[in-house]
Amino acid sequence: MAVCVAVIAKENYPLYIRSIPTENELKFHYMVHTSLDVVDEKISAMGKALVDQRELYLGLLYPTEDYKVYGYVTNSKVKFVMVVDSSNTALRDNEIRSMFRKLHNSYTDVMCNPFYNPGDRIQSRAFDSMVTSMMVQVC
């Protein structure tokens, strides 16, 4: 279960960022910000490699002692960054991929919403509830 989810536009500003323990939010914001460098590195590495298949899922970006950060980039260069609790029994790769796929689908729905201007912060309640369902249940 994710602890923090962020959607970053192609110009590298956040379109949506939400974390679960609402105190200490700044720490997660900072983590997402530093992970952007790793994302850029992976994207440019993909470009140089002569691999035919270029995947959208970037995988584990970097681990810290408490958290692991995963990344995913879409064809429109919008990045999704997810911070996951390390102490959680290791989430399988498949589960992370399916969470990113759900995020991508919801983001596409937000894009197709006529009341949404591309480039604005995401305020859709449907998107919010989808992200809530992915995050940790803090009781």
């Binding site: 470009g47 270029r54 980039v73 879409t74 429109s76 596409t108 197709c112």
Partner: protein
């Protein structure tokens, strides 16, 4: 196919509606209507540019994006592929459609040549919007030599 006809009818009505309410019949008013149509196409293109490539892998270079436009986008919107794509390898691409579905019902040949640009404005915006979501700033213009063949010229803006 019934689905294709739905969009064609809607598009025809959009053009007719914009032209009917001409308070300024001179060239200024016409340009406004053309840019309204192009703007509509742009927003639709932005959304399509997000939804259509969802399952495809990341694009490697500009030419891949243009090929995606000619194949997947055209098939999704017009149920056929673009007939030819040419480039000068310096940022200009010419996409040619020999039987453009929005023009094919009108005439075949030179009749209605002056009316044709109105029916291409939305599609120009569509191309520009999709390119903009995929990270390419461009300028798209259309030209018709004889219906229903039309060419879309895409000029990439280098920033």
């Amino acid at each position: 196919m019934a689905d294709a006809a739905l969009f064609e009818f809607l598009h025809t009505e959009m053009v007719a509606e914009l032209w009917a309410h001409h308070s300024d019949p001179g060239p200024g008013g016409q340009k406004m209507s053309l840019s309204v149509l192009e703007g509509m196409g742009f927003r639709v293109g932005q959304a399509l540019g997000e939804r259509l490539p969802q399952e495809t892998l990341a694009f490697r270079e500009e030419l891949d994006v243009l090929k995606f436009l000619c194949k997947d986008l055209w098939v999704a919107v017009f149920q056929k592929q673009m007939d030819s794509l040419r480039t000068n390898h310096q940022g200009t691409y010419v996409l040619q459609d020999n039987s453009f579905p929005l023009l094919i019902r009108m005439a075949s040949g030179l009749q209605y040549l002056e009316e044709a640009p109105k029916f291409l404005a939305f599609t120009c915006g569509l191309l520009r919007g999709t390119l903009s979501t995929l990270g390419i700033k461009s300028l798209v213009t259309a030209s018709v030599a004889s219906l229903p063949t039309c060419k879309f010229q895409v000029v990439i803006q280098k920033t």
